[in-house]
Symmetry: C2
Subunit: 162 residues, 2 copies
DNA sequence: AACAATTAGATTGTGCACAATTTAATTTCC
DNA sequence: GGAAATTAAATTGTGCACAATCTAATTGTT
């Protein structure tokens, strides 16, 4: 866990009249996540991946041979989500799953040749999403930082809840 | 549909080297959506709702008696998602589903007394999420507008893809 | 009236997402 | 060295999410 900066939380949760849908940041983020999914679909269909599978591939393209645990920490997903997803990627010939020799509890995930080739293909395919981000007119660097700050604050609250 | 301002899209999708996970706004939004879910969980557990069910209740609390179609347009969800979700809400006694008398293809969704009472209860329960948003230090009004602008740009791209 | 086209929901099948539990391997502590 | 605690994955069960398909009702056209 990062960000144990000791700064006290500003206040406690309190009862409040329920806000309408359109004033809620949570719905904006929720629906934006769906919109990303839709915008990515044609690009990912060319690669034969779903969006969560693409995220796993991004993690492996950054560093091959990671454990399920390490992938899960990177993506904030648990084994109940990753195990079947990784089995599908293995079934499609993009990765191999093998028990660690040193610690046999671990499962190490390695790219196959096809998995590495897909990295090149992804780089050559037209990705519509960065353009859409640009179209939105929102400065990407600032938005990235704001959404990350929001996520971290939410995770701190969730962890503090009990 | 809003925002048909006639402004041409700035450029077409192009091939680009694949960016790392941490530079991608899509992953920031995706993981922030999960973080909202986690932060909401204890609040929603008190109400006996999941997050998507809470969204449906928000829509009905704003206006009772809407059709499945209208709810779906508001939340950007289709009948394959809503039908079983609404049946669960009906099973829990929060709503009633009845065929429209005027147009029998429609199913109208109405709050029960328990569903209305839950609105009051939601208003009295401590909601940790606004506090977390405040903790993040990001100006909420600006963030809301930026995320919405992003979503609309993504949906335009997705619609234009083919 | 009659028939095509459209529309509203429901259904089916695939794939996340996560809580809770289980199994097996490893580490810790004595 | 051996029992207890911890850890890594897998499994099970519930609930979204959406594409594709199906059924039934309505609307439009002739």
């Amino acid at each position: 866990m990062r960000a144990a900066d000791g700064k006290a939380m500003t206040k406690d949760a309190q009862a409040q009249p329920v806000r309408g849908l359109d004033e809620q940041i949570c719905f904006a983020v929720y629906s934006a996540a769906h919109a990303f999914n839709r915008a990515y679909r044609p690009f990912l269909a060319e690669l034969g991946l779903t969006y969560p599978q693409y995220l796993v591939m991004l993690v492996l393209w950054e560093q091959d041979g990671q454990s399920v645990k390490a992938i899960g920490e990177r993506l904030m997903l648990d084994s109940g989500t990753l195990t079947p997803l990784l089995k599908r990627l293995e079934g499609n010939g993009l990765i191999l799953r093998k028990r660690g020799r040193e610690d046999e509890r671990q499962v190490l995930v390695e790219l196959t040749e096809a998995g590495r080739v897909l990295h090149e293909k992804a780089g050559r395919s037209a990705n519509p999403v960065p353009c859409a981000v640009e179209d939105s007119g929102v400065p990407p660097a600032r938005l990235l930082e704001e959404v990350r700050a929001l996520r971290e604050a939410l995770l701190r609250r969730a962890a503090a809840e009990d």
